[in-house]
Amino acid sequence: MSVWNPENVVDVAESIGITSLNRDVIDHLARDVEFRMSQVLEEALKFMRHAKRTTLTTQDISQALRLLEVEPLYGYESTRPLRFGEASIGPGQPLFYVEDEEVDFEKLINAPLPKVPREISFTAHWLAVEGVQPSIPQNPTQADQRNQELSAKGPGANSTLAAVSGNDNVSVKPLVKHVLSKELQLYFERICSAILDDSNDEYRAAAFASLRTDPGLHQLIPYFVQFVADKVTHHLRSLFILTQTLLENPSLYLAPYVPSIVPSVLTCLIGKHLGSPSLDGTTTHFALRDYSASLLSSIARKYGPSSSTLKPRIARSCLKHFLDSHKPLGTHYGAVLGLTMIAGADGVRELILPNLKAYDAVLQEAVRDDARAEEAGYVIDAIKKALDMLGEDHAELRGALGEVLASRMD
């Protein structure tokens, strides 16, 4: 009747020399053992709960025994769940035991030290931005969360809420658009058409002016970011100004959207083909690259402190393109510019200088080729500029050093 097999009581009794036990005594003891075990387990569960775990460990049992003023069991301490082996001692009589590995001392002593476990560390990410969960690798995908109840169902449930948090099911599917007011939608459409309209400069200027100052545009930011990403390859210049105006607007908080803005800007900086050479001339794209470099540096300045990975990421992609000799010179030009702007003098010293020698070959070849000589000139200018910066930095450093030395002399 009890979970605890009374035969075990008999076994233990025999092991300490008591051979004849009344059946009632055995039953009574078995029931009592079961009760004590459950007492220990109840206490152990408390320790598990307060450690905010959902698995019971041997330490919890030890703590529980200590709380009940019983000597804990030694030798089972493990942070991992114990592994149990199963052996059969007869039909329907499984015997469980803790699997204990045999360790050869000789081997253990001569073996190299085990790796130190990795340190506890933490990372931060946006779990939700204004009620919406961004789909970034740190957050689970829709497929991962299928077995969780996330949104309210049944009478009284607000379907809009579900839609806003992106958990709408198939039966109720209000468009997210509907949280935008009619006025904002209209505004968005007007602005977009104004920006894409190449013929009317006045109209466009008015749109930019409005974007630069209007404080109530927060809800539209994701739409604008998406707009820029979609159209960036077609209407370079005006979209750039759009990004810039958004950045300049003091009442908008763009930090969460920076990761989605940066790729568009980077495309303009180091893209292979920008604009059409036949229409705009072969070298106009350099101006665009200049412009995007300055935009990028302003983003990095503004949001670098709040995102520790922003600058290294940009620098890394610039460097990659710089080192790839198969890329056109325009890309190299953009990469050098980007590196100079983002990483400053230190970056030039660490990232560009060591690679200049190798790059020299590429440049030589380009200079000799008449078709590319002009472009090569631009690249050389950019590198020169970077080196100038280095020189200034040196001068500053030398100046500072001189001051220190001078103060020492006094």
Binding site: M1, L67, N158, V164, S165
Partner: protein, 728 residues
């Protein structure tokens, strides 16, 4: 295990034969005796009829009809069946309640649980271990949903001495289970029991009289709670939760007075914010004026002085706690800076104003995920200025990190010390279960040459950290020198929780020894002892004005209690949770307390009226580890073991509740019913699997990647910071 003799066995060593005595009656008297008995009757009857004693014969026939074939008397009273009587009685009552009128059924159903428990305990107490187990396994099923923990705790009880040592059994035996039902329901129950006196009515009546405290109320006057509408709603299986005054503590809803004849009035509370010290107020005002003149407010903003004046003016003077009763050390320059910053943040904050147009506010959440923990982190805590995060581990040490990657330095470091952005605090000799930073507010570094930086000035950092551990001690750590300053010993069992007072100086701790204690940092002995919980005090929280604390317990108690720290007495008590309470948080407005349990339920309680505001479900099982309120008290956020951060609408849902009842009573149900019929089966199936129903009060839920959320916190600017450990 087996070598360890359980403690205090003396009581359990009874004469072994005593067990056998009452074992189910194996019929003595074999087949032979039976035959002779039958024959004897036959012979006597023949003799009587031959002699013509017809009346004597009739009498004998009548009387012998009551014996069975074996000649044993057939028991007519259920009491005579020994251990079986409780089973048949319980069956009887259960069937009767099932067939009773729908309007009484919900009330009468509440009666089954205490009758079940006491029937079982009586069986064990009367030494019917076999019958007890049988009874328990037969009838436990309907209670497993609501009383899961109690059922689990009662299951292993087999012997009378276990009753003495089992917590839950003691609770039920030594207290009267209070139950409120309407007058008519109670009368019909008693009438039924008296009619079926012989079939077991007496047994149940006995339990009701000895172990229950049934209060009868008039349904009309009781209104809401016991009203017809509520009953109709319950009939649809809508919810089956204990009433606020049901259960062991036996108290009027909200009241902490446990006297049986306690009046239904509640003690008065001072829930307003703590008034500011006069000196401090002057200093703060001067500082604000100074600030206003150097940084004139932009656009439509108020000046800081105005903002401050407004806040003081809003405070009603009648319900604020007195400052004289709760002494604090004199304020310092740091306090002034903190107050100034609070006023500034109050003006510049992104406000969450509750529902606007039916859609809840959008909340931003930053998640801090801890890696390589191997499930060894027990608790995580953020400092008030968002510069530090601390984690208490199962390996007895505490680790503090700087959130902005700043080196944590100490004046006592040797010159060769390699600075890093984290520090270990070593001292405890058991797992660390709770941490609490002394209060602090982020004070931004003064702007240098027009370039405002994101960093905070170093003196806004908290200076102390408290930790509590399974080694029964609480330790105070200095965050300047990163050393242990004080060890507070008084608890006799592991200390589950510790919290700094919102104004610093005092702190409160709670322990497995069923007490909560109030301390002040300079003294090593507790100032107050809060005794009353019937099981471990699992968690504590402060009222924002620092004059009250809240404690909550698990086990068989499951109450939230509110204590006045000056008088040391309980002023409110809230019953209604069905699981162990794992988190508490009082709203910054000071009028609502939110409590969450490990069955995934959050309950909001109103402090002035002492009543339940609403229950909110949505979290999966396994514990809601942390709760916090937005600064305007308009939104509650929770994080738990199911790896989600959930945002809740705390406003009372008057209109939707009303609408629902009307819908169910009228024709609306039908439309709803047929519409949902197709999906209904699927929903029911999935419900059975997940048994989580998300209540409509949830604004949004954000799942993490396999990271249980240990801590959620609203910053002063209404950004949510959440922390959890990634457990692949």
């Amino acid at each position: 295990m087996a070598q360890q003799p359980p403690p205090s066995r003396t009581a359990s060593v009874g004469p072994p034969s005593a067990g056998g005595m009452n074992a189910p009656a194996t019929t003595p008297g074999g087949g032979q005796g039976q035959n002779s008995n039958q024959n004897l009757n036959q012979i006597v009857l023949e003799y009587l009829s031959k002699k013509g004693y017809s009346r004597t014969e009739a009498m004998l026939r009548k009387e012998s009809a009551n014996t069975d074939a074996n000649g044993q008397p057939i028991p007519s009273r259920v009491e005579d069946t020994g251990g079986k009587m409780y089973s048949s009685t319980f069956n009887l009552v259960q069937n009767w309640i099932e067939s009773s009128l729908d309007i009484y059924k919900p009330e009468l159903k509440r009666l089954l649980w205490p009758i079940f428990v006491h029937s079982f305990l009586n069986l064990i107490g009367d030494f019917y271990p076999r019958d007890g187990q049988e009874f328990f396994t037969t009838f436990r099923e309907p209670f497993e949903a609501e009383h899961e923990d109690d059922v689990r705790a009662l299951a292993p009880i087999h012997e009378p001495e276990h009753l003495q040592q089992n917590n839950i059994a003691q609770l039920y035996r030594n207290n009267k289970y209070r139950l409120t039902m309407s007058h008519m329901a109670y009368t019909s129950l008693v009438m039924f029991l008296e009619q079926h006196e012989r079939e077991g009515g007496m047994v149940v009546l006995h339990i009701v009289q000895n172990f229950l405290d049934v209060r009868t109320v008039d349904r009309q006057t009781a209104g809401g709670q016991k009203g017809l509408q509520r009953l109709l709603a319950e009939r649809n299986g809508e919810q089956d939760a204990p009433a606020e005054d049901e259960g062991i503590p036996g108290h009027n809803p909200g009241s902490a007075n446990m006297d049986r004849n306690a009046p239904t009035v509640l003690s008065k509370l001072s829930l307003g914010p703590m008034p500011m010290e006069a000196d401090l107020m002057e200093d703060v005002k001067a500082e604000l004026q100074d600030h206003d003149s150097t940084h004139p407010p932009a656009g439509a903003q108020n000046t800081l002085v105005d903002e401050f004046e407004q806040r003081i003016k809003r405070e009603p003077m009648d319900d604020v706690p007195s400052r004289d009763l709760l002494p604090f050390p004199p304020s310092t320059a740091r306090d002034v800076a903190m107050e100034v910053q609070k006023v500034k943040e109050n003006r510049d904050r992104f406000r969450i104003e509750g529902r606007t147009g039916g859609v809840g506010p959008g909340i931003s959440v930053t998640m801090f995920t801890f890696h390589n923990t191997f499930d060894s982190i027990n608790c995580i805590e953020f400092s008030g200025d968002n510069s530090l995060v601390a984690a208490g581990t199962a390996e007895s040490y505490i680790r503090v990190w700087s959130l902005d990657n700043r080196a944590l330095t100490s004046p006592t470091d040797p010159p060769s010390y390699q600075y890093s952005s984290s520090r270990r605090l070593v001292g405890h000799s058991g797992p660390v279960y709770a941490l609490s930073f002394s209060p602090s507010v982020a004070i931004p570094e003064p702007a240098t040459n027009g370039h405002s930086s994101n960093t905070t000035s170093p003196d806004s950092q908290p200076r102390y950290l408290l930790s509590s551990s399974a080694d029964t001690t609480i330790r105070l750590w200095s965050l300047d020198t990163w050393t242990n300053l004080v060890v507070y010993r008084a608890h006799q069992s592991p200390v589950w929780d510790v919290r700094f007072c919102p104004h610093g100086h005092y702190f409160v701790s709670s322990s497995a020894d069923r007490t909560a204690r109030l301390w002040s940092t300079p003294q090593i002995a507790p100032l107050r002892l809060f005794v009353g919980h019937d099981s471990d005090v699992e968690t504590v929280a402060w009222h924002p004005n620092g004059a009250y604390i809240f404690t909550a317990s698990g086990g068989g108690d499951r109450t939230v209690r509110m204590w006045d720290i000056v008088r040391g007495s309980a002023v409110r008590m809230f019953t209604g949770h069905t699981g162990n309470i794992t988190a508490l948080a009082c709203s910054p407005s000071g009028h609502v307390i939110a409590s969450a349990d490990d069955r995934g339920e959050i309950i909001l309680w109103s402090l002035p009226t002492g009543r339940l505001i609403k229950r909110m479900r949505g979290h999966g099982r396994g514990g809601i580890w942390s709760l916090d309120w937005s600064v305007e008290s308009s939104v509650l956020v929770s994080g738990g073991a199911d790896g989600t951060v959930r945002v809740w609408d705390v406003q009372e849902n008057k209109e939707s509740q009303q609408g629902k009842v009307v819908g169910e009573g009228g024709a609306g149900t039908k439309i709803d019913g047929t519409g949902g019929a197709v999906g209904g089966a699927a929903v029911a199936k999935s419900k059975a699997k997940k048994d989580v129903v998300v209540s409509p009060d949830q604004i949004s839920a954000f799942p993490t990647k396999k990271s249980p959320v240990y801590k959620v916190r609203f910053t002063q600017m209404n950004l949510v910071m959440a922390a959890g450990a990634y457990l692949p």
